[in-house]
Subunit: 142 residues, 6 copies
């Protein structure tokens, strides 16, 4: 009986959208206010979904304390209250769009899950209106 | 690396559930209070999900300004602050249930997305408790 | 020990903002899209706050079942799934703005509360961004 | 045109996480504060998603009144304002984790849906940060 | 320039509404399902509001880390993941209604605030629809 | 009949908490992670509450389009997608705590309201758990 569990974590961070592949003018045109030189910021909401079988001994797919510890250790402590373009090693050289961040966060935790627990989805919300999700490289696009 | 982006838009509208294929008595029985002659209304929350590859030059699947412009232009300006049974051309002859509206809204935007960006899901919420979603005609039901 | 209790109720309704004291052109100018001839609608969230002393026998200011019954009977059943300009007797001749509705709803329930329970505040939310509140005629404006 | 409808229902209940397959010490270690002898509790939010074709006569996949009646009758009245470990027959012998509860709730309603309406997903949220979902035994894990 | 700061904390707990001043039959009548013998539970949301002057040196009324520490230490660790009728010393002999809990929580923290910071309001929400608030014994009811 | 209207606006911004009156070590101790050199950020939610009498001709205290225009023009366009310590003239020399920001925002709009409409409260939320409010210098602290 395959089930899934989703754990949410919050962090707040500053970032600036600016691409080295574009001229300054193109950057302003593409990113608009998000290209502001000194950055802006968000309260990010991160949802990690894992899937697998229920352990009949505990009734759990994964201990939520453990899942929370992995998310906090591998992602949250590195990005919370930071400037994403400057302070975060795993985002080095990455334009910190929601799309890129979901892919980086997937890599950050996929190998830290216990046996039998598969990473299913990394979803990141940066505002009431905008969110992104990544379901892994093996996830075939229909 | 296929990712998905979801953009939310809100609109408020009046509507009445009433089917031309049913008698007045059947309409009252099927739709209950939603069949009220002069209509009622909702704050609708519309979520459009698109999928595709990240453009390495911008770190984006689609520019959110552009996605928002498409949703606003093709859907929101036509339904916001309107009576869905009377004022909206694309809902002409359509019973404005959430189910029908998701299908109509899918058609309204599927051909307006840029190359490489596929429409994945149209979700419509009409209250804290009720929502519907449509994933397209090609979406095979399991 | 004076405490307060707030009970929330939801209803969805259609309405049109149109004043008999204004010309058609003035109505369009003042109310904009809210003046649309066939109306639009909202999910309204209504919060009724009452205050008074805790009954030491029950630990309650008012039985929430009773407060809910009063709100449902005096307000919700009359406005839910209705057109506020046409179908609701207590709003007869009233422009159904949030401001006017809070005052009318105050009158609708103030005399139905049990002894020792005072109505403190009627708050009405029509969208994520807009709300109004009325604290009664005896409430002195600072 | 296959669509899906999601209906949400709320209930509040007490529970204790304690496994008969573990020693008292193991129970404390695995479940932490959730193993507290006299239990704790939650406001649960339950989302039932069904899928199928729109009935062109009504514009609906399923009458929401009927879906709500099924959820209330088969699940909510049995768990609302109860202690899940003691008072609920369908959870007899089941450790009331979110994972187990989604599977039990799936069984409780899957045979009560009208013809042509398939159960797609049972999702249960026990807090702002934790939720689980079950998509049925036939749902192949990727 | 008097400002106010509100800090929210969450906890989940079981409770049973049952008064020693009432017969079993009266208890069932007054509290309904909340009188269930083995209890039920909630995710409680607690909001503590304090007021005072801004310290020009720090721009703060009170350090939020300190306010959070006080709320956690004096209230949350004592009630979180507990049965409020059995496990919580400060609620000993108190019927755990929202009303009574706001008064007890007021007493629990009012003397722990730094000089110049006054407790203004303790608000407790037990569900989407129900909340209570206490503004202190010195708060004159209008 | 005095009523109040509340309009919400959102903005996202970066900021750093750092006081010129404190040493670097004191800054780190007082503000913790909020003192991070390159800043962090938030989705801010700003609620402006005004009060006054209902205009019987329109049924409104203030036209919400006008209130929204004032909030956007006097506050939002100046802070949205900016770094509050660097890019915002009205916050020049101000430590951008929630407390200080509510006072500055009060000053920014209090003289822009139409006759008969009084500013009642400026509330600023920077996260799910933290908010501040300012009710003006004339507001006597109880």
């Amino acid at each position: 009986m395959p089930v899934e569990i989703t754990r949410r974590a919050n962090f707040c961070a500053a970032h600036r959208l600016h691409s080295p592949h574009l001229s300054d003018e193109e950057n302003r045109e593409v990113y608009g206010a998000c290209n502001n030189l000194h950055g802006h910021g968000h309260n990010y909401s991160l949802e990690i979904t894992v899937e697998g079988e229920i352990d009949p001994k505990t009734g759990m797919l994964i201990n939520l304390f453990e899942l929370d510890r992995i998310i906090k250790h591998e992602i949250v402590v590195q990005v919370d209250h930071r400037h994403l373009n400057i302070d975060v090693e795993m985002l080095n050289g990455v334009i910190p769009t929601m799309e890129n961040m979901t892919v980086v966060f997937w890599s950050a935790i996929e190998n830290h899950l216990p046996d039998g627990v598969r990473l299913k989805r990394v979803a990141l919300r940066e505002s009431e209106k905008n969110s992104a999700a990544y379901s892994g490289p093996a996830h075939e696009v229909k």
